[in-house]
């Protein structure tokens, strides 16, 4: 009811779209517009963002979400310490792949959206509700995607009602698909998925999930030029967050580094 009297409802995104400093997702006017004939303009749309591997994997009692740290600009590395995984609220996180500018903006806007809703309504959105809202926001980015600025997020959250971790993947049109075991996206996503497919089994512990996530990211970095591996010289390791009923937390870097080093020395023995 209030939505009809109160034009903005509880969504910061809707509020910003109507009243913000500038309209959201305004696509530049130059460049190729989708054509009405033949394939409905989707042919020019890259299905997978360039660069990046981000992944999420479920374990007993929660979900782990991780990403590599490299930013790519054409054939150059433009950043070695970029974070692609962000805390969205106490029980969810968003990982991003795609054009860095709009992707970071989407993550930031999503964080404000969840906090805004929580403050206005006095309750947190359900896990399902957060995933659906993100879907609408990705769809809102479609005009920009047609210009080549594709943004594909990966959403992981702990569902407090169902008492389990959940993973949602998206496509460029905002299509939302739930994954029950694991998922990875970005240019190295396929390699990471292949690794997780081999290693995943039901009822993983958090430590096992960490190990699988690192293996997957390592393999992705080996096969994909857009994905950065662990940087042992500078001590840069993948970002890892764990979400359980107790909330979200960063995995300690020492623990990630330790698992990473164990993995590398095991592989060294094989070659």
């Amino acid at each position: 009811m209030s939505r009809f009297l109160d034009p903005y409802g509880s969504s910061f995104y809707d509020f910003l779209a109507s009243r913000g400093p500038e309209p959201l997702h305004q696509a530049p006017q130059s460049g190729s517009q989708p054509t009405a004939s033949g394939a409905p303009g989707l042919s020019g749309l890259p299905a997978v963002p360039h660069g990046t591997t981000v992944l999420a994997i479920r374990f007993q009692g929660g979900v782990l979400i991780a990403g590599d740290r490299q930013a790519t600009e054409g054939f150059q590395v433009s950043g070695r310490r970029i974070d692609k995984v962000f805390k969205a609220d106490e029980h969810s996180a968003i990982a991003i792949a795609g054009a860095a500018g709009p992707a970071l903006e989407l993550a930031r806007l999503f964080q404000v959206e969840l906090e805004h809703y929580e403050k206005l309504e006095g309750d947190m959105l359900s896990c399902e509700g957060k995933a659906n809202k993100l879907s609408q926001m990705v769809r809102g980015n479609l005009p920009m995607a047609f210009q080549g600025l594709v943004v594909i997020p990966l959403f992981a959250g702990y569902d407090l009602k169902r008492r389990e971790g959940r993973i949602f993947k998206y496509d460029v049109t905002g299509g939302r698909y739930e994954e029950t075991e694991y998922h990875a996206t970005g240019s190295g996503g396929k390699d990471a998925r292949d690794t997780m497919k081999q290693m995943y089994r039901r009822g993983l512990t958090e430590a096992q999930a960490l190990r699988i996530a690192l293996e997957a990211l390592y393999n992705a970095a080996e096969e994909d030029v857009g994905t950065g591996g662990p940087d042992l010289i500078r001590g840069i390791y993948p970002t890892m967050k764990v979400i359980t009923d107790a909330g979200i937390r960063d995995l300690e870097e020492s623990k990630v580094a330790e698992t990473c080093n164990a993995l590398i020395s095991e592989r060294r023995e094989k070659v």
């Binding site: 903005y8 910061f12 400093p21 806007l109 805004h116 403050k119």
Partner: protein
């Protein structure tokens, strides 16, 4: 055509003020008090779900007394103001001072322009971090804004409560337990009733927390603090 009756501006404003004051005095009171780790907010509120105290931003809380629909509308507007500002600039640029000013402007212009003034009194408080003092702003139905120190009260018998608390509140270094007990004692004495933990809505802005400092204190914790 009959001419409308002439009412002098003084009379009109006095009538409006009286109307608004009456509406606010009918309600229950809310106390804000500085304590060692931040600011405590205590509302005489029998409802567990309809809040009078709300989180506004990282270091800012809001509280409204008077007509529920009116202060609820102002609360939502304030959250939009704060979130938009924080999103456009930076989280540290959102301040209670700017929010209180915005409230003062809109309530003030409604008071002079609208036939019916808003029957609300608001509190906007900010907890100071890194050695900065706390800020307590009280905004009246006519848009006047008062920068309080130590203790602030809105709604109901606010004047009597303020007199009581001014004589008893000693310094901002009191503990949370002491602050809560003093607030409850004031509410009990002035309203001549015995408020239990269920009849209270309590929240703090706790400067020892990082990020969002607002925290609600549930009835179990209130009981433990009062025990």
């Amino acid at each position: 055509m009959a001419l409308p009756y002439y009412v002098s501006p003084e009379q009109m404003m006095a009538d409006k003020a009286e109307y608004a004051k009456k509406g606010i005095a009918k309600g229950r009171s809310i106390v804000a008090m500085e304590y060692a780790d931040g600011v405590l907010l205590v509302a005489d509120n029998p409802s567990a779900s309809l809040h009078k105290i709300s989180e506004m931003y990282d270091r800012i809380a809001f509280s409204g007394a008077g007509k529920y629909n009116e202060f609820e509308m102002l609360r939502k507007a304030g959250i939009r103001h704060a979130d938009l500002k924080g999103y456009t600039y930076s989280r540290e640029d959102v301040t209670a001072k700017s929010l209180a000013n915005a409230y003062s402007q809109s309530i003030g212009s409604l008071f002079s322009a609208d036939p019916k003034p808003l029957e609300v009194e608001l509190l906007v408080v900010e907890v100071g971090q890194d050695g900065k003092p706390n800020e307590l702003y009280r905004i009246s139905f006519d848009g006047s804004i008062i920068d309080e120190r130590g203790v602030a009260v809105i709604g109901g018998k606010s004047e009597a409560l303020m007199t009581f608390l001014k004589s008893r509140w000693t310094s901002a270094s009191i503990s949370l337990r002491e602050a809560l007990r003093l607030s409850l004692e004031a509410l009990d004495t002035v309203t001549n009733q015995k408020l239990g933990a269920e009849g209270l809505e309590v929240a703090v802005l706790d400067r020892t927390r990082t990020g969002r400092t607002f925290r609600r204190i549930g009835s179990a914790e209130i009981k433990a603090l009062l025990a």
